[in-house]
């Protein structure tokens, strides 16, 4: 952002500008605008295709029937199994992500004198850059095969939870940093033990910000399909049992996209639309929660 004064200076100068510099300046502006346009075009195309193709085959059946009910001709069936699977696995992920993520953020902001703080912060950053597929493979080696759990909703939820942790840590840490130091000091001066200051003063003050961060983290992992391939595996039948193989919405979209039937591809588009709409709604809710502060 340029201040008004500097814009005036620019206007004053430009009258005596050499043509070459004037042309260069104009060219830069055109290129920047063109580049921005090129960035926005695919976005509009993706949204357009998503809505047109997604809505055209979206019906009630999509939400009430499972993939196991798909008939040979492809007229029946829906993604209920995948939607339920996503909800169940995100619930597991939420528990893990919230407990470990917020706990770690408390450690980083409220126990700054602790000697492990720099290492934990570094490792948190390292985890942020970890590809999701790697996390899926780790859970496969550790839980699916290592502990003998087999492919299951729990394993899928675990992998999503691990991906969520660094996202929640970062968001929560930012909010906790905003809580005024004087609030903590006021609590301590009243003789409150440190843990009560954290639980009864710091966290409630930061609540709406933390909720925003958690919602955004859930939205972020809800679209992850890669780790589910190795952990939840997928299941065309509806199940509420997280020890069974489960499908998730993004995983079902991925698998359906490769199926030769047109109905399956149409369902994939509907699944993609539902997924994106859910993520958008979650982001809007998160923004709303942030604004209420």
């Amino acid at each position: 952002m340029v201040t008004r004064a500097s814009q005036n200076i620019q206007v004053g100068i430009s009258k005596t500008l050499s043509p070459a510099r004037r042309a260069q300046n104009a060219l830069a502006m055109v290129l920047v605008a063109l580049g921005t346009l090129l960035v926005l075009v695919p976005l509009f195309l993706i949204l357009k295709d998503l809505f047109v193709k997604g809505f055209s085959s979206l019906n009630l059946q999509f939400f009430t029937q499972s993939q196991s009910e798909i008939t040979f001709l492809g007229s029946a069936g829906g993604f209920l199994n995948a939607i339920v699977g996503s909800v169940m696995m995100l619930a597991v992920a939420l528990v893990i992500g919230v407990i470990i993520g917020i706990g770690t953020a408390i450690f980083l902001t409220e126990y700054r004198e602790h000697r492990l703080v720099p290492s934990v912060r570094l490792m948190g950053d390292v985890l942020t850059g970890m590809p999701a597929i790697v996390v899926g493979l780790v859970i496969y080696g550790l839980v699916v095969r290592g502990l003998g759990f087999g492919y299951s909703g729990i394993a899928g939820g675990l992998s999503l939870g691990l991906i969520m942790i660094p996202v929640i840590v970062r968001a929560t840490e930012e909010v906790l940093k905003l809580v005024p130091q004087t609030l903590r000091e006021a609590g301590l001066a009243l003789g409150l033990p440190r843990w009560k200051v954290i639980m009864n003063i710091v966290l409630p003050t930061a609540r709406s910000g933390i909720i925003t961060g958690v919602i955004l983290a859930v939205a972020r992992v809800s679209g992850e399909a890669a780790p589910l391939i190795f952990t939840a595996f997928g299941n065309s039948f509806l199940t509420w049992d997280p020890t069974q193989k489960m499908s998730g919405l993004p995983l079902a979209v991925y698998r359906s996209a490769f199926e030769p039937s047109e109905a399956a591809v149409a369902r994939a588009w509907s699944g993609a639309l539902v997924l994106v709409l859910a993520i958008l709604v979650a982001s809007l809710v998160a923004r709303f929660a942030a604004r209420k502060r």
């Binding site: 993706i46 409220e110 493979l137 080696g141």
Partner: protein, 308 residues
């Protein structure tokens, strides 16, 4: 500004305090050991692949599951080809978008554009992949055919290196643009006003006063974008064609580390096959770690002194 919190008096609260702190430290320790645990688990599960093939696992090119040969170099190369190609397309566009938002556009235009680009970042990988297969590839196929025939390459089938680069570029643009925008906005206004006062044009201000100042952050963002492109899985898997070999040209199908893992995992019947895929996962983890540390070092080294 580090304020040390005064310790409360010893008393009824202090034991509960110790317990609470123990819980918090335990939770943080999980984060502390996770990255190491990831490496150990993948190394243990992929060890037999390294054991069988030795260095050939990383440097050899014979990937033939039917005959028990698992050498992953084509996929390591494929990962770098696609990621670098995507960066070449994405960086200028992302930079343009961030300059537009931070320097050129008035607020009423900059805010919606910034929001739309954030939206682009929120779309899941699998949705990009779906769009890639059914919209992007059919739309670019005529161009690919024209390019192949004018260069004398074999006819393209659509899915391949080029499609993967293009789709990856679309996916990492919002990521790089968001970081660059933040960094450019952090450049102090004094910097711009000083350049304007010397008679610089808008472009000269950006070129000589803003970009050099923001250089470290932008480069760091680009490297983080590279890290993201390297780890990106499903979208690439859906449009790269998943051929177990080096690409003959820019348009031919090939595979990346993540795409070969994702596309072959279901068919991996033998333990050797599975351990080889996990071994590739380990290589991917190491590459991702190196790229992320590189980004951090670049940001630390190149940041001008006295930056906010």
């Amino acid at each position: 500004m580090k304020a040390t919190i005064p310790q409360p008096r010893r008393g009824s609260g202090s034991r509960a305090d110790a317990r609470f702190q123990a819980v918090i430290v335990a939770l943080a320790s999980i984060v502390l050991v996770t990255a190491l645990a990831y490496s150990v688990v993948l190394l243990l599960n992929g060890a037999s692949a390294f054991g069988r093939e030795g260095l050939g696992f990383v440097f050899g090119s014979n990937w033939d599951p039917a005959n028990g040969h698992f050498q992953a170099f084509p996929f390591i190369a494929g990962t770098f080809f696609t990621a670098i190609g995507a960066l070449v397309i994405a960086v200028p566009l992302a930079l343009a978008a961030s300059l537009f938002i931070a320097e050129y556009a008035p607020d009423w235009l900059a805010n919606p554009v910034a929001y739309l680009i954030e939206l682009l970042a929120a779309i899941p990988s699998v949705v990009y992949g779906l769009w890639g297969i059914f919209v992007l590839i059919p739309a670019t196929l005529p161009f690919q055919k024209w390019l192949a025939s004018s260069l004398g390459w074999s006819a393209p089938i659509g899915p391949g290196l080029f499609s993967a680069m293009l789709l990856l570029a679309v996916m990492i643009i919002p990521f790089i643009a968001a970081i660059s925008r933040d960094v450019i906005k952090l450049v102090p206004n004094d910097q711009r006003e000083a350049a304007f006062a010397l008679g610089a044009t808008k472009w000269e201000v950006i070129r000589y006063a803003v970009l050099p100042y923001a250089r470290a952050g932008i480069l760091g963002g680009v490297i983080l974008g590279l890290g993201r492109a390297i780890g990106e899985t499903l979208a690439v898997t859906m449009v790269i064609g998943n051929a177990n070999r080096f690409p003959q040209n820019l348009l031919s199908p090939t595979a990346t580390m993540s795409s070969i893992i994702a596309s072959n995992f279901g068919e991996a019947s033998s333990p050797e096959f599975v351990s080889s895929l996990i071994g590739i996962g380990f290589v991917l983890l190491v590459v991702a770690l190196v790229v992320n540390f590189l980004a951090r070092i670049v940001i630390a080294r190149l940041t001008p002194q006295g930056t906010v």
